[in-house]
Subunit: 329 residues, 2 copies
């Protein structure tokens, strides 16, 4: 187990429960389209009751990124907390079967494995409702120094700021990464999540983060900017690399005083946007840890993001390495 | 709860676990491509370990047929046994969310909810490995006379001949159906299943079955015929209607001394054949209980079967009623 890893991710270990819905049903349920809401166990049960027939696919934002890195041919590890129940077995199976090293201890009691109830509208947009379950048990004791020491990059999930003890775990992981000469990456995850924890995120970025991932809403929430250009200026120079995605409008990477603009990869039909940002981050980090410049790394991210939105769920079934190769990168 | 039902199905209540594989892996695992093997809990665990990343979708042959009937606008009920665990909750949610009446008591202890580990090869063919789990608890006490009395047709799953007490349940249901003026339908399910129980299936058909569903391999196994035409002759007149499907070669229906030949509905790309026979049966039974003649009922079956093989898993996400309407039936 002494293999060098490109990236180790730390995040909420979640099984996604995906069902199709209509805009009318979203409105009736008073759900904020495109967002992520945290829900408790009883809300999860009653929302599930109202959802249509669903499928279960392993998810978790940074876990999706790690599966993408592995599918690209990179070496990835993952730290996250599930319970010893059927969905915990599903999550563990899927991430290991994707080739990701995953050895976090399962909790043997307490809340069940986390579920994210995902409602997908006909336009392919996804609305997330997360029951964190066993994720709230993640703490600094789950951060394995040997694993971090073997990783070129440690990738932290912004969503992890919600469960209480996970931030201690993230700070410990960030400190260990730098101690062992690694880089620290962070995904801001969700604009409302940023809104809940803005000051802490700013401090985390200032003190620890080398590579920042955010979409337009998230970076505007972080910087409280009126528009994307203002947000860009506000974030410039705050960390080594900032990767800012804008959905169909592509992405902007700020790195070493340079600015790289990358177009979105064209897609015939968007089926489900779940995981688009996760796959972009996974693709970028694969490129970053394999000698690609920021522009090419972002192009790999764009290819991975385009692939995942043509299917349901956030884990790609086609090998990403072949897709990237076919695009001549 | 006094609604008249078109069809009530009785079957193994299963959650499918679907993963892509290669022909080479199937050969290495010594699995019989296209077949259904019963496996015990420890084999299920070790096979799952060897499978790639998977998705979970509710399944169960006759349960899939009932979901199809509901999606076509019919009224369907279902009897089957799950445990009170997470996968049992998934199965129960999905079948109810599909609009099917399902009130079977869950088992509170004993084996877990049944799983079918499905390996899908690049040609779209599926190979089934079923751990029956809680299904073995199904017995005559689960057959609700009031439910049967409300149903025009009771649809029995041939696979149910495997768990020990389910045949008593099926015989009870068949007798109750006839007592209340309903019809009894049976799916032969699988050629090897027929092989295991040939004499009992023949007696069941002779004594109880009005509508028989079988594919080419199954009807040949039942009649021990050398070819399809021999099998057709052997089965003619044995029950009111025999619906014999032949995959891409369409289907033949024998009914009241008449013979209807129906072409398969064209499909651009076969993604996963899981559920093709189940959806054909569901479509046919919808037609049969809504005043369509055997030829048109089989055309509805063919449309439903064609739809399900263009997606992964055996539960269609697009409303089948619209597809059938678009085809002018």
């Amino acid at each position: 187990m002494s293999q060098q890893l490109d990236v180790t991710g730390i995040g909420n270990a979640i099984v996604d429960v995906l069902a199709h819905t209509t805009d009318e049903q979203l409105a009736r349920l008073a759900l904020h389209k495109g967002g992520m809401a945290l829900i408790d166990a009883s809300t999860a049960d009653s929302l599930y009751e109202l959802m249509g027939p669903a499928i279960e696919v392993s998810g978790g934002s940074v876990a999706n990124s790690m599966a993408a890195i592995s599918s690209l041919g990179g070496a990835a590890g993952y730290i996250g907390k599930v319970r010893s129940d059927q969905l915990g077995q599903v999550f563990s199976h899927d991430i290991r079967a994707a080739g990701v090293e995953f050895a976090s201890r399962k909790s043997e009691s307490g809340p069940s494995t986390a579920r994210c109830l995902i409602l997908v509208t006909p336009d392919g947009q996804r609305t997330l409702n997360t029951y964190l379950g066993a994720c709230i048990e993640l703490g600094p004791e789950d951060i394995d120094e040997a694993l971090i020491a073997r990783s070129k990059v440690v990738f932290l999930e912004g969503y992890l700021w919600d469960p209480p003890r996970a931030k201690e775990a993230m700070l410990k992981a960030a400190n260990l990464a730098h101690k062992h000469g690694g880089r620290v990456a962070l995904s801001l995850s969700d604009a409302f999540c940023v809104d809940r924890h803005r000051a802490e995120f700013k401090r985390l970025i200032e003190d620890h983060v080398d590579i920042l991932f955010a979409n337009e809403d998230e970076v505007r929430s972080l910087t409280e900017a009126d528009n994307f250009d203002q947000a860009l200026s506000a974030v410039r120079g705050r960390c080594e690399v900032a990767v800012l995605t804008r959905g169909a409008q592509g992405a902007v990477v700020l790195a070493n005083d340079e600015r790289f603009v990358v177009a979105a990869d064209p897609v015939e039909r968007v089926l489900d946007t779940t995981g688009a940002g996760d796959l972009f981050a996974g693709g970028f980090l694969y490129g970053f840890t394999h000698g690609y410049g920021p522009g090419d790394a972002a192009r790999i991210g764009a290819i991975c993001a385009a692939e995942v939105i043509t299917q349901v769920g956030a884990r790609c079934t086609r090998p990403l390495a072949e897709l990237v190769k076919a695009k001549g990168i």
